[in-house]
Amino acid sequence: MEIIKPGTKIDFMKKRRIFAVVSGVLVLISLLLALVYPTPKFGIDFEGGTEIQLLVGKGMDSAVLRRSIKELGFSNPDIVSVGVGSEEFLIRIRSYSPVSESTQNKAREALKKALPDVKLSEFELSPGGDKLTLKFDADVDRNLISATLEKSGLELRRIKLEEKDKSKDKEDEAGAVKVEPQDQAAAAPDSEDEIDDEDEEKEGSSRCIDPVCPRGPKEDHIFEVFLKGIGSVVVEGLQKKLGTDKIKEARRIEWVGPKIGQQLRNSGIKSLLYALAFIMLYIAFRFDLRYAPGAVVALIHDILLTIGIFTALRINVSLETIAALLTIVGYSLNDTIVVFDRIRENFQKMRERELAKVVNQSINETLSRTLLTSLTTFVVVLVIWLLASGPIKNFSFTLMIGVIIGTYSSIFIASPIVVWLDRRFFSKK
């Protein structure tokens, strides 16, 4: 069986200007997209988002949850089961609920007006926009706070919670959580077992299920206000869709920080750059100086175009995408080297002075292999994309794009650059 008949001759080099222009335009569009939109959207791994600890009924599974959350309009949720029976899930979505500056100011002014005798020394919204911390210099009526805030346009989250058995409810809304000191001492007899009056005080405070809760020592007059953010929207949406017997309640809704810090992100980028540099060195050493830039430009082209497609399609960049990007780079590189190798061989064999002709013949000779490999890979990735769900679907989608771009670039970008460099800098005419 043969896909490409031997002796095929397509003049790739003749049309190289067209492809150069097409690629140039595409890369430019990618860059522009990245500038116009707030860069490629980084996923929850990089930026943080809202985490919902959800209590569900028996028999609920992650596939149903994932589908329902997607239908509510939140892409790529992380859904993780907690515990063995899976009656609890951690749901992480990228979005959080920013409260606009004007709403914040309005609420602050309203509070000041409602409480003229008390100084409001702290008014701080959590990064996720779902918790407001207030600090006063004297005692304030909690109901007055909630009434004032609601009137000024903030939506407060009212929790309908019956008192649960305490041991199960360690992580709860008010944050009045405590691992019993005895437990701690038993677990680590060597550890610090200090007795502090402050601790004793904390223990005394019982759970607060009001939207406005006091925090810390009483004389500090600090209150936490729980706001209705995107997390509550998700929970209510799910309840409407699947019923309250399936979706029981949210144990906790809170903003979480990124898993991949700035440092890690930078080290990833740095490692990519180093890798590119070393690859260039190797190619320059094994092949010829004029080959190296072509391979690297093709790689950069691949990465930029893939990111551009991400931005255009509003796909979140997550850990999986990074892995897929790396795979694309490896794949495209492999492709490029195979073509280069044939060029090198033919150049010696053919004694043909004009590089463009050699390149053309080499691409034609390797075309069968290039298409075969790309097709098999593409089919495998396509199958995964069709069947899989969640992160793996995104992963295979990235690979699909990458296979196409990688194959294209090794034929239409890497090799023409070699020819161009040769004409521009190495030509002896």
């Binding site: 031997p6 943080g48 599974d61 992650s62 596939a63 994932r66 859904i79 993780v80 089961s81 907690v82 515990g83 063995v84 899976s86 951690l90 702290e122 360690k170 992580e171 944050g175 959580v177 691992v179 680590a188 610090e192 077992d193 200090e194 007795i195 903003w255 979480v256 920080g257 990124p258 990833g268 490692s271 180093y274 890798a275 070393f278 190797y282 850990l319 990074i322 892995a323 795979t327 490896g330 794949y331 590189l333 492999n334 080297i337 195979v338 190798d341 044939r342 000779e365 292999r369 075969l372 098999t376 089919v379 495998v380 199958v383 995964i384 069947l387 899989a388 769900s389 793996i392 992963f395």
Partner: protein
């Protein structure tokens, strides 16, 4: 058949068996229930580390810690107050002192009312962070940290804690562990739930690891402790003891309190409560506690544990911040492991000055509120190195583990404030059980398609390529198991890439062989020429990717590293299977060089 062929075939078979051996031991799970017996012998388990599945594929433990931000605030208050007092000292006000009130406030007392000018002068320097508040009486003024500063310290301490914990996890070389933040909580997610492993991780995460070198005020300890002699409890649970210390100006008698552990409380707790109730510790002094074990007549430690006090300077001479490196070494004479630390240049200077100024006095090495040891400074110590001995009553192995863990935390730095475990829960795979299930099915179908394709397109040669492919996967699994690697989704991506490259290598070779056949060569020589020519193509293509993999492994972290490891392993095995093994099989098909045709 040539003799060489059999040698090669034997070698391949041996590798296959080894690969299978290592793969099996990691593919057969250890039974969950205790009663069930392990289908594999225990020596096999011990020998092979096995492949661990990462957080994304298998789930693991989710540990939530709360950073005790108020401790960080109190700590900063202490530093501000001591700074304030020493600033006053520079202005010739000798008798200023301070006393903590709550965690963000302190009372500053200057001896004379006339010093008020100087105090307000210094306060002016601190105006951004400290504010005068009610409760100032006579010579005492009450200073409180401003709210912005407190908010800043709280936020910063959580951020630093997250960073430090990440560093520690990096030092441990744990693959696929995530550390994230939620308000004042730190969430650590560790793959797998193996108890022994997680216990160690938990211990390392939660250790504050604040290392301080403090001079012992033996000379004036008597003034403090002897006053307490009348208040000691009648049941002798606390005793006042003394010891002779060399001292710079001749021998001095140092006093300390000692208490035994009781059923409910440790000796330290007993001492702390006693001091809290009965004594006022001067503001420039802190009390250190050391654990003591009594020895029986044979010199073995008994179970009786007691604690003693040290009368220390409050301000640490040198701290762990200045550590440049830490490592485990063995003591030449006792053979026991200890942790050697070396200070950076700045720390070495401070350490030299500190030891030089305090020859013949004692210096306590305090790790997290526990005095590790308090040796007498024999002479000025230059060069910036010190040693930390370990609780000498344990077995060699447990001391070694303790030493290694200490090295990890010392290298990664101290936590800015203590952290407290809040919850611990077992979580499912991050990718979601549903998507993993479908992912497996999809990958199986994909693989079958590739295998079928190779057979349809290359016939017999395709079958040999498929056999090589299966061997490749066995070898990758075996090597990963041998390395005890953690497999994550990015890791699987690396495997897919290398398997793809192996298929590609076979495609390159076979296309070459076809070219040679078209040129009229006999099957056997077409194979030789095809493999020979294709070898360098494949070599260059794979080596370039290998270089990229090495770089990613060196500079990358977390997910990137996982990808790089499987990529590197996969490249080596796929080169071997695609070039060596599939050639072996094709040579078998065309054996004796008499075959007329080659099915390719």
């Amino acid at each position: 058949m040539e003799k060489k062929w059999f040698w090669k075939a034997g070698f391949t078979l041996l590798l296959l068996l080894l690969g299978l051996f290592f793969s099996i031991s990691s593919l057969v799970p250890v039974p969950d229930e205790k009663g069930k017996s392990d289908p594999l012998p225990s020596w096999m388990r011990d020998m092979v580390n096995g492949i661990n599945l990462g957080l994304d594929l298998q789930g693991g433990l989710r540990l939530v810690y709360e950073v005790e931000v108020d401790e960080a605030v109190a700590d900063k208050r202490d530093r501000m107050a001591t700074g304030f007092v020493s600033e006053l000292k520079r202005r010739d006000i000798e008798n200023a002192s301070w006393k903590p009130v709550g965690n963000d406030t302190f009372d500053l007392t200057a001896a004379n009312a006339k010093d008020a000018d100087a105090v307000s002068d210094v306060l002016n320097d601190y105006r951004r962070v400290l504010v005068k508040t009610g409760g100032s009486v006579g010579k005492t003024i009450r200073l409180k940290m401003v709210d912005e500063e407190k908010t800043f310290i709280r936020d910063q301490s959580v951020r630093q804690a997250q960073e430090t914990i990440s560093n520690r996890i990096d030092e441990l070389g744990l693959a696929n562990t995530t550390v994230s933040r939620r308000d004042i909580d730190i969430i650590v997610e560790v793959p797998g739930v193996e108890e022994k492993q997680t216990a160690r991780i938990k211990r390392i995460i939660s250790q504050t690891a604040r290392l301080e070198f403090k001079i012992v005020e033996d000379e004036i300890s008597g003034d403090f402790f002897r006053k307490l002699s009348t208040k000691l409890p009648e049941d002798k649970s606390i005793t006042l003891e003394s010891e002779a210390i060399r001292g710079p100006e001749g021998p001095v008698r140092s006093y300390f309190l000692k208490a035994m552990n009781t059923e409910e409380r440790s000796g330290r707790q007993v001492l702390k409560m006693f001091l809290k109730k009965n004594a006022e510790i001067p503001s420039d002094i802190s009390i250190g506690y050391q654990e003591l074990r009594d020895l029986d007549s044979q010199g073995n430690p008994t179970t009786e544990v007691s604690w003693r006090t040290f009368y220390l300077q409050r301000q640490a001479g040198v701290t762990g911040e200045y550590i440049d490196n830490a490592y485990v070494t063995n003591d030449q004479t006792t053979g026991k492991p200890y942790v050697a630390i070396s200070f950076n240049r700045q720390g070495a200077g401070i350490f030299e000055d500190l030891t030089g100024a305090n020859v013949a006095r004692r210096m306590a090495i305090q790790l997290d509120d526990k005095v590790n040891s308090a040796p007498v400074i024999q002479e000025k110590i230059g060069g910036g190195s010190a040693r930390i001995t370990l609780g000498g009553y344990k077995s060699y192995d447990s001391m070694l583990i303790e030493a290694r863990d200490l090295v990890v935390v010392l290298r990664a730095g101290a936590l800015p404030a203590p952290i407290r475990p809040v919850t611990e829960s077992v979580i499912g795979p991050l990718l979601g059980a549903d998507s993993i299930r479908m992912g497996k099915i999809a990958m199986a179908i994909g693989s079958i398609l590739v295998i079928l394709f190779m057979i349809v397109y290359y016939r017999v040669a395709g079958i040999s390529a498929d056999i090589a492919l299966v061997l490749n996967i066995v070898l990758i699994t075996g090597i990963l198991a041998l390395l005890g690697a953690t497999l994550t989704l990015p890791g699987i991506a690396g495997i897919i890439l290398t398997v793809g490259m192996a298929v590609d290598a076979n495609v390159i070779i076979y296309e070459r062989v076809r070219e040679e056949l078209r040129a009229g060569k006999a099957p056997r020589s077409a194979i030789d020429a095809g493999f020979g020519r294709a070898f360098w193509t494949i070599f260059d293509a794979q080596i370039t990717t290998f270089i990229a993999g090495v770089v990613l492994m060196q500079y990358g972290t977390g997910a990137i590293k996982g990808f790089a490891v499987t990529l590197l392993v996969g490249i080596v095995t796929s080169m071997f299977t695609a070039i060596f093994v599939s050639r072996l099989l094709l040579e078998f098909v065309t054996r004796r060089g008499k075959a007329e045709t080659l099915s390719i």
